[in-house]
Symmetry: C2
């Protein structure tokens, strides 16, 4: 494990972070730009997305917080926040535009809750790291704005898509005003960091409410894993290509039935939920029943034992359907599988972690650049090869490596302590036993 830890941390410090630190600022007009090709060169895309700005602010702030500060990184963040406030914020109808041109004129003036959720996450993280009052105030104000514009007073949760004036719109071909696990999971993530910053009971309450909402409304009662999309009343509906996108999911025109579950979202949800419980002061042991089904399902159905890595998604009951390997599922699985091992003590989670780590380090990372390919075939063949674009930002890869290092460090320390207390380690039983 010590070798894995060192390898991961060296990669993070010497390759992944430097790749982005050299590229993430857009030098001409300011803000952040993550459109880079396989060779690390800027692509022809020049516009800037809200998601890119928010996730970059978060990631750079998070790196500083976790000990990966570099000269100039605070200034990098500050210029990004200046660009954000100066060009994305709508002076007339409030909220933030979805896409602006490189020089900061609105190109898509929609108000998308997903993007605003990442702003709360980013500004709260920045305020925690730097004590910046402007970031703190805007994170709190955005929380209020989401409640005022997007909360559903009838069924709970939040609507997700609005026009510039914050009029609710549907971006589905069937006209449904959908609610999604994706957005509510990221709201939970954002509210976690906001509450960590403010320790204000209202933010604590909101975090608990959204977490409860997810676990009572958005998970399959039989398998305990997520469904993607819901109508306003939380009835599961097909997951379908939306008019406003923030990822590169691949859809048939008919969409995907509610029986399809995303291995990446499931495992990401599990570890973000455990982190939320940490911040709320709830012992992880108290919520084992909520996360165990997710961890078990991921390991049972989501891990490719032949070629390595985590599949994209599958049928909740009968297993994988899309067997390609996408970068972000691998990133989130690394963190979640270590959490599963640390909480449940079972060897199978560590084995699954080694599997995914090995796949990432042998197949997914483009070692010539230091970032990850976005999409490989099941066997590991590169299907898409850019290093970053509007929706592939540095957030998943850097956060995953930082959080993986933290957990590996915990395991190494635990094993060292166990070694000290009990003499040389005894062989671990094949499965079910507590590792260490």
């Amino acid at each position: 494990m010590k070798e894995l830890l060192d390898r991961t941390e060296c990669y993070l410090r010497d390759q992944l972070l430097p790749f982005w630190q050299a590229r993430i600022i857009e030098p001409k007009f300011g803000g952040f730009q993550t459109n880079y090709d396989r060779d690390g060169r800027r692509t022809a895309v020049t516009h800037k997305t809200l998601l890119c700005q928010g996730r970059s602010i978060f990631t750079l702030s998070h790196a500083i917080r976790m000990g990966y500060d570099r000269p100039g990184s605070r200034e990098m963040i500050r210029q990004g926040i200046d660009f954000l406030f100066g060009h994305f914020r709508d002076p007339e109808f409030d909220g933030y535009y979805w896409i602006v041109t490189e020089d900061g004129r609105p190109e898509d003036d929609s108000k998308v809750i997903y993007g605003h959720s990442f702003l709360i996450y980013a500004l709260a993280e920045h305020a925690i790291v730097t004590g910046d009052g402007r970031s703190r105030q805007e994170a709190c104000r955005l929380f209020d704005l989401l409640a005022a514009r997007a909360a559903d007073f009838q069924f709970g949760g939040f609507f997700e898509h609005f026009d510039r004036r914050f009029n609710l719109v549907s971006v589905r071909p069937d006209g449904v005003f959908d609610k999604s696990l994706d957005v509510h999971m990221h709201l939970m993530e954002a509210f976690t960091t906001l509450f960590e910053l403010t320790r204000w009971p209202r933010h604590e309450q909101a975090l608990r409410q959204v977490a409860e909402l997810i676990f009572t409304r958005m998970l399959d009662p039989e398998f305990g894993v997520g469904t993607s999309m819901y109508g306003p009343d939380w009835a599961p509906i097909a997951n379908i290509q939306l008019g406003t996108v923030w990822g590169s999911d691949r859809f048939d025109p008919a969409g995907k039935p509610p029986e399809i579950t995303s291995y990446g979202h499931n495992i990401e949800l599990a570890w973000l939920y455990l982190h939320a419980m940490d911040v709320l002061g709830v012992p992880r042991e108290q919520v084992i029943d909520r996360v165990r089904p997710i961890f078990e399902h991921t390991v049972r159905d989501g891990i490719d034992r032949e070629f390595g890595g985590v599949y994209v998604e599958g049928h909740r009951k009968s297993g994988p359907i899309e067997m390609n390997k996408e970068f972000w599922q691998q990133a989130e699985a690394l963190v979640g599988l270590l959490d599963a091992h640390l909480l449940l003590g079972e060897r199978k989670y560590l084995d699954a972690f080694r599997n995914v780590h090995d796949f990432v380090f042998t197949r997914m990372i483009n070692w010539e650049q230091g970032e990850w390919f976005p999409l490989l075939s099941r066997e590991g063949k590169v299907l898409w090869d850019y290093m970053g674009h509007d929706w592939k930002i540095c957030y998943h890869t850097i956060r995953s490596m930082i959080q993986t290092v933290c957990r590996l460090r915990q395991i190494v320390e635990r094993d060292t302590m166990a070694g000290r207390q009990h003499g040389p380690p005894t062989p671990t039983p094949p499965s079910g036993g507590r590792e260490g």
Copy 2:
């Protein structure tokens, strides 16, 4: 009917409105004061409640809107809003205090959603009547504030009791964070007028959401009438004396089981809901199934055919329990029963209206002063005799008389038209026939 109309309008114009116009301003420090004894003299109570300020602003504005303007009434309202903004609004934690001293220092700094709901109602009504930008802006801002501080993101609806810092508190002896039909009905009322003012889709959406919430969560599925109190998840709970009060309800220490329904709240809900539908542009005929059970239940169980008037409350199934006659139930029943008659055309609602109108005009009104006694025995004996206090303001009586006059006028016009079209009116069938 013409005689009833004239009698009601003369009373409103010559007695009820003048009683309050002469008394409602507190001359020493400003704002409104409604503590008056049986003889119309100020009582020893000097503090000022948020509810009194909000309801007074609404009532005076509503009277102007409906054609009962008097010289100086706009200035009366303006000084009240100045006092409200200057002394009730919390400059540090936002929102408005619940009670202040006569000179405007906080006495109870709780933040109570019921009071804030009436502020939205009042300021929106004032903005509609006068075009005042300050009132409009504050009504909109308070809508946002309620969402940000009080919305329940898990189960929908709003929590109702907060301390000065907007931390959620329970004011029930059993510690439950309750939700109530009372507060949500008045939020529907407030959002109706707010949407009437702004015509903004978000306010329309909020109005629809709260109205749906009430009719899907807060009414008995068998009888279609209201339950008072709910836990956060909408499970009905006992209606119990709260630590923060805004009325003079009478409780046993054990409280009242969920089977108890309030005849006054039911009929008030029905007509406020129909009014909300009018503002939303939904034809009343489309929602008959929602209001008919309430109207039928009120007439079946709530009307005292022996002594006249509407009972306070009863068992949903087996009929009245508290048979006293309280002022506000009579006030709301007058309006609701005329709506029932106009919508359903049945004679029994007009008979019930005549019953209650007669009871009010012979028993409830203190003719020496022009206001109503707060509480009579079933037989009509005066039990409480003050003309106003912190929670008996002029809102129920004046609004009821204004709205009754409007509806009586409609009926008189309808009857006149019918007479013109068909010659002399034919005798009405005993029941079930359309009056006219």
